[in-house]
Amino acid sequence: MSGTSMTFAQKILARRSGKCFVRPGEIVMIGPDHLLTHDNTAAIIGKIEKELDRYGVINRDLPVIVLDHVTPAAAEENARQHQRIREFVRRFQLPHFFDVGEGICHQLVVEKGLALPGQVIVGSDSHTCSYGAVNAFSTGIDRTEAAALMLTGETWLKVPETIRIELTGKLRFPVSAKDLILQIIGELGADGANYRSVEFHGRVGTLSMSDRFTMANMGVEMGAKNAVFPFDEVTGQYFESIGAGLEENHPVWADSNAEYERTETFDMDRCGLVVALPHQVDRVQPVKEAAGTPVQQCLIGTCTNGRIEDLQAAARILKGKKVASTTRLLILPASRSVMREAVRTGIAGILLEAGATILPPGCGPCLGAHQGVLAPGERCISTANRNFRGRMGCKEAFIYLAGPATVAASAVTGTITDPGEVL
């Protein structure tokens, strides 16, 4: 062991706080590259009205604001908040604003090139950890901290211990990255990575950018502060495809002899299809054991699994088939560009033919505010990230989490179904 070797989190936080070396437990002050806020921007700026009048926003480039949580507005109160946010954006001439219909904040931050390798991003949404997919350090904070950041541009972070996850083998359809990360969370537990940084090592080159997004996104469901992948050819190609320049970009990765709290190995060859049972993300079980459970709603989409690859997996299962009359299938694309791609490639047509309802890009029913709230006693199988009691608007409903192929197969039969059964 070398005294100066560092993990990803140590290295990036040292660099950003102007130090050569930091150790886990140390507290550093950092100025993030971006601060993400969404519909909650209205509440955030409401806390600092006087200060905004006097000091303004510290740096116009800092905030990224996306209207996605309750969009299009479900009630007058939401509409008023959106209106207030638009006025704020105009007043301070903030360049990174995405209005209703553009998509889910996390998808947009990555798609629009606002999260670059080696950057530090914080956001007042727990799934801000998603940008580890593109080798950024990103983590969730609360509204009050977002308010303070608008004024000062800086905050403190405690350098976390790191868990190294070593991946071997390769995933094979219909098993997806969602099955893999649910299995990892099932093993580690809902607080298994609490306060920790999670690094993915090993055969990560076999995972697409969409797979990595799904896995980094779910990091917080095991309590992780951040979850991150190395920068490699897949990352490079992704940035090329979105036309984001990486000239000034500095990827960061752990030293080979960095010190880890522990290392866990997962064999992707042996990863099977799984579901998380109500009401905890870490209650993970093989699909075969839950098979036959009736479901009244199926949801494919959200920031976890709303990319074109996910809709494509669903279309592979649903092509030429019909959604069972005992259930309903909702499709929630993660962004306008995902929706456009689904239309262009014919995927949207296949899903509509099968009897799916396509919702506007946004967070939709995932947080239970609108567009697919459940009734008491109903069960929903969903590709979202959380199955807590009450999450989809009804405390007497039950949510199962799974990958897109399993949810699509379940829509065909109206019961939890192994995709192999309907292929």
């Binding site: 007042s124 727990s126 969730g140 904070i141 509204r143 009050t144 303070a148 000062t152 807590f388 999450r391």
Partner: protein
């Protein structure tokens, strides 16, 4: 003073349902919905000075701050838990709500035990046993002492103003 006892993994939807996230933001709006899906009695009967005692991973899930803001404004003395989820821990600190991570104290509690907390000395008494909990790092204590992150930030901005106004010595 009442001790409200809950188990492991009390998540943010249990503490404050997500469906109200964009319609309730002020303490007055939040308080009636606190712990609504977990314990319908809580919001009606919680009194200033009460304590929540819970298991592991308290506050896991969403980054919504209504749980921390609501519990602080209800006058809760502290949440004592075997462990806290990271974003909730930060949100509570930013509201100036006292959190005590002490699995031993949680394990020692039996129904009806009196619980007494001395934050200055870092001591918690459960029944006839006393446990200690570590002091917060100074960076965090400054925020708690100021009464939360926003008062702390206002002080910081004012100090900057004062620096800018004071004549420079050359």
């Amino acid at each position: 003073m009442k001790v409200w006892v809950y188990g492991d993994d009390v998540n943010t939807d249990s503490l404050f349902p997500g469906k109200y996230t964009y319609t309730c933001s002020t303490p007055e709006e939040i308080r009636p919905h606190l712990l609504e899906d977990l314990d319908p009695d809580f919001a009606r009967r919680v009194r200033p000075g009460d304590i929540i005692l819970a298991g592991r991973n308290f506050g896991c899930g969403s980054s919504r701050e209504q749980p921390a803001l609501g519990l602080k404004s209800a006058g809760l003395q502290a949440v004592v838990a075997a462990g806290f989820s990271r974003i909730f821990y930060r949100a509570a600190l930013n509201q100036g709500l006292l959190l005590i991570e002490c699995p031993e104290a949680v394990g020692a509690y039996r129904e009806g035990d009196p619980v007494e907390i001395d934050p200055e000395k870092g001591k918690i008494r459960v029944g006839d046993r006393t446990f200690t909990f570590p002091e917060m790092p100074p960076e965090m204590m400054r925020i708690v002492r100021a009464g939360g992150l926003l008062p702390f930030t206002r002080e910081k901005l004012k100090a900057r103003d004062a620096d800018a106004l004071s004549p420079s010595i050359e």
